[in-house]
C-alpha cells in the first residue's frame, strides 16, 4: 500500500469517531469540522515523517481540539489544553492522550453524529447527502455525481440542511437507553435508504452509484462495531452484504437489469455472501427477529441456492409473511406474492395482489409482477397492458428495458406458430 493511500484510509476510517468527539466538545458542527480538517492537514504533514500514531482517532481529536482552541485563544485569553508542539514531538504521544479520552464516549459520539443527519424535517435524500458529507467525508462533488445533480445544487442542499440542523436543539446530553435505541433505529433506517439509493438507482447509470452501496456497508459495519450485540444491526449489515454480493450479476453489458433467476451466479461475490450468512447465524442466537433480519434471511435463501430451481420459495413465502406481520405494507405483500406464485401458482398470487392495485397504482414493480403473472396464465392482452403501465412508471432506462424484454417474449410466445 502506498503511504498516502494508507494515510487517506486511516483518516477516513477515524473520521466518524474523531468528528463525533470534536462535535461533543465544541457543540457546533462547523467548528468541529474545521478542527477535524486542521488535524487532517497536520496528519498529512507529520505522519509520513514520524509514522502513523497507534490510535489515529485519538490523535485527530487531540490535535483538532488544540488547533480549534488556539483559534479561540487568539481571540481571547484562553488556557491551552496541552502544549501542541510538545504533544506532537513526544515519543509516544498516544499513551498520554488516550488516557485523556474516554473510549466509551465514542459509541454515543458516533451515533449522535449520524443521528443529527436524520433530522425528521429533512427529506430522506438530504439526510443521506448530509451523512455522506459529514460522516463519510465524501466531497460535495462525489455526492453530487452519485445523486446526478450539479455540484452547486448539491452544495446548496447540504448547506441548507446543515443550517436546519444548527437551528434545532442538538442532542448533546448522554442519551437514555430508550433514546439510544431510537437513535440507532433512525440511523439504521437512513443507512438502509442510502444503500437503496445506490442499489435501486432511481435514475442514471447504476455503476456510478455502486459507491453509495459500499459506503452504506461501511456505515453498517461501523454501527455493528459500536453495537456488537444488536441482532437487527447484524441483520442490516447481512442484508446489505447479501444484496451487494450480486452487484456484478444484476446488470448485463448494456445496463439492462438481469432478473435473479437469470443471473450468472458465478458472478456473485462469495466472500460477501459468506460474511452475510455468518452475521445471520450470529443474529439468530438472540431470538429477537426484526425486519432487517427477516429480509436478510430471505436474501440468504437466494444466496444459498446454487441454481434458481433450488430456491426454497416456501420458506421465502413464510419469511415475507412474518415480515408482513411486523410491518404490514403492500410492497411486502407484493414480494410475498412472488413466492406464492412459485409455490402455489400464478392464479393464487394474482388473487393476493388484486387488492394492492389501488395502494400500488404508481408502483413500477406492481405492474411488472402483475404482467408476468398474467402472461404465465396466458392472459396476453391484460399482461401487455400491465407491462405498458410498468414502462410508463419506470425510473431508469434499465427498468424500462427489462420490461420491454418481457413484452418481446410475450409477443413471440403469443404469436400463432
Amino acid at each position: 500500500m502506498t503511504e498516502i493511500g494508507w494515510i487517506g484510509a486511516a483518516l477516513t476510517g477515524a473520521r466518524p469517531r474523531a468528528l463525533g468527539a470534536l462535535l461533543r466538545y465544541f457543540r457546533d458542527l462547523d467548528t468541529a469540522e474545521e478542527a477535524f480538517q486542521e488535524a487532517c492537514l497536520r496528519a498529512l504533514r507529520l505522519w509520513p515523517v514520524k509514522g502513523p500514531p497507534r490510535d489515529p482517532a485519538a490523535w485527530l481529536v487531540m490535535v483538532g481540539r488544540n488547533a480549534a482552541l488556539d483559534q479561540v485563544r487568539r481571540q481571547s485569553k484562553t488556557e491551552r489544553f496541552t502544549d501542541d508542539a510538545e504533544f506532537e514531538d513526544s515519543e509516544d504521544p498516544e499513551a498520554a492522550l488516550v488516557e485523556g479520552l474516554d473510549g466509551a464516549h465514542y459509541q454515543d459520539d458516533v451515533l449522535r453524529l449520524l443521528f443529527i443527519c436524520c433530522h425528521p424535517d429533512l427529506p430522506a435524500t438530504q439526510q443521506i447527502a448530509l451523512a455522506l458529507r459529514i460522516v463519510s467525508g465524501l466531497t460535495v462533488r462525489e455526492i453530487a455525481r452519485a445523486f446526478l445533480v450539479g455540484e452547486r445544487a448539491m452544495e446548496q442542499r447540504i448547506t441548507r440542511a446543515k443550517r436546519r440542523i444548527a437551528e434545532g436543539d442538538l442532542p448533546f446530553g448522554t442519551p437514555s437507553q430508550d433514546e439510544r435505541d431510537q437513535r440507532l433505529a433512525a440511523v439504521a433506517a437512513m443507512v438502509y435508504l442510502l444503500f437503496n439509493e445506490g442499489y435501486a438507482a432511481s435514475g442514471g447509470d447504476a455503476h456510478i452509484r455502486l459507491p453509495l452501496c459500499e459506503e452504506a456497508i461501511r456505515l453498517a459495519r461501523l454501527l455493528l462495531r459500536l453495537f456488537p450485540a444488536d441482532p437487527e444491526i447484524m441483520g442490516l449489515l447481512a442484508l446489505l452484504l447479501l444484496q451487494h454480493s450480486r452487484a456484478l450479476a444484476r446488470l448485463d453489458a448494456d445496463g439492462t437489469i438481469v432478473l435473479l433467476e437469470d443471473q450468472d451466479r458465478a458472478l456473485w461475490d462469495r466472500a460477501m455472501i459468506a460474511e452475510g450468512l455468518v452475521l445471520i447465524d450470529k443474529a439468530v442466537r438472540h431470538r429477537r427477529r426484526g425486519p432487517y433480519q427477516l429480509q436478510a434471511a430471505t436474501a440468504a435463501l437466494h444466496a444459498r441456492a446454487a441454481r434458481p430451481e433450488d430456491t426454497d420459495w416456501a420458506e421465502i413465502g413464510q419469511l415475507y409473511a412474518a415480515l408482513e406481520r411486523l410491518q404490514p405494507s403492500p410492497v411486502i405483500t407484493l414480494n410475498r406474492a412472488v413466492a406464492v406464485a412459485k409455490v402455489d401458482g400464478p392464479e393464487a398470487a394474482l388473487a393476493l395482489i388484486e387488492p394492492l392495485a389501488e395502494p400500488l397504482a404508481g408502483y413500477f414493480h406492481f405492474f411488472g409482477v402483475r404482467g408476468a403473472l398474467l402472461s404465465q396464465l396466458g392472459r396476453t392482452d391484460e399482461a401487455r397492458q400491465a407491462f405498458d403501465r410498468a414502462i410508463a412508471l419506470a425510473h431508469t432506462p434499465a427498468e424500462a428495458a427489462h420490461i420491454r424484454q418481457h413484452l418481446d417474449r410475450l409477443m413471440k410466445n403469443g404469436r400463432p406458430t
Binding site: M1, G5, T12, G13, R54, R221, E275
Partner: protein, 122 residues
C-alpha cells in the same frame, strides 16, 4: 521450525481503502505466497473476516457467548501465515516480506509449539 506470522492492522482503515488499493494489497499477498512456496516455506494461510463477524466464548465461572472479538484493540488480528523457517532470523525475513506486501501495522512472529495439519480442509 514452524512460525505463525500474525498480521495486525486497523480494520477501519483497511475498510476505507479504495478498491484499487485493496486489490493491490491482495495481489501483493499472492506474490509473497508464491515466493514463500517456491522457497519451500509456505504453510497454511488464512484471512479472517472483520471482527464484527466474530463471537467470543468467555470461560471461567459462568461461560458466556459474547458478540465481537476477544479484545477491543487499536489493531485487530486480520489473518496469519504459517511458515517453515530454520531460525528466527529467517522467520523475521519471511515476516518482513509479508509486511512489505501489506504494509500492516504489526506482525507478530510466534513459534509454533504443536502443529497438526488437520484433515486437509478445502
Amino acid at each position: 521450525m514452524l512460525y505463525a506470522v500474525l498480521i495486525y492492522d486497523d480494520e477501519e482503515a483497511i475498510g476505507a481503502l479504495p478498491k484499487a488499493e485493496f486489490d493491490r494489497l491482495i495481489a501483493n499477498h499472492e506474490g509473497v505466497q508464491e515466493k514463500l512456496a517456491a522457497d519451500g516455506k509456505l504453510g497454511p494461510v488464512a484471512r479472517l473476516m472483520p471482527t464484527t463477524a466474530a463471537t467470543t466464548l468467555r470461560q471461567g465461572g459462568e461461560t458466556v457467548l459474547l458478540d465481537g472479538p476477544f479484545a477491543e484493540t487499536k489493531e485487530q488480528l486480520l489473518g496469519f501465515y504459517i511458515v517453515d523457517c530454520a531460525s528466527l532470523e529467517e522467520a523475521t525475513e519471511a515476516a518482513g516480506q509479508i509486511g512489505r506486501a501489506c504494509n500492516a501495522r504489526a506482525l507478530e512472529i510466534r513459534p509454533v509449539q504443536l502443529y497438526h495439519p488437520g484433515i486437509g480442509l478445502k
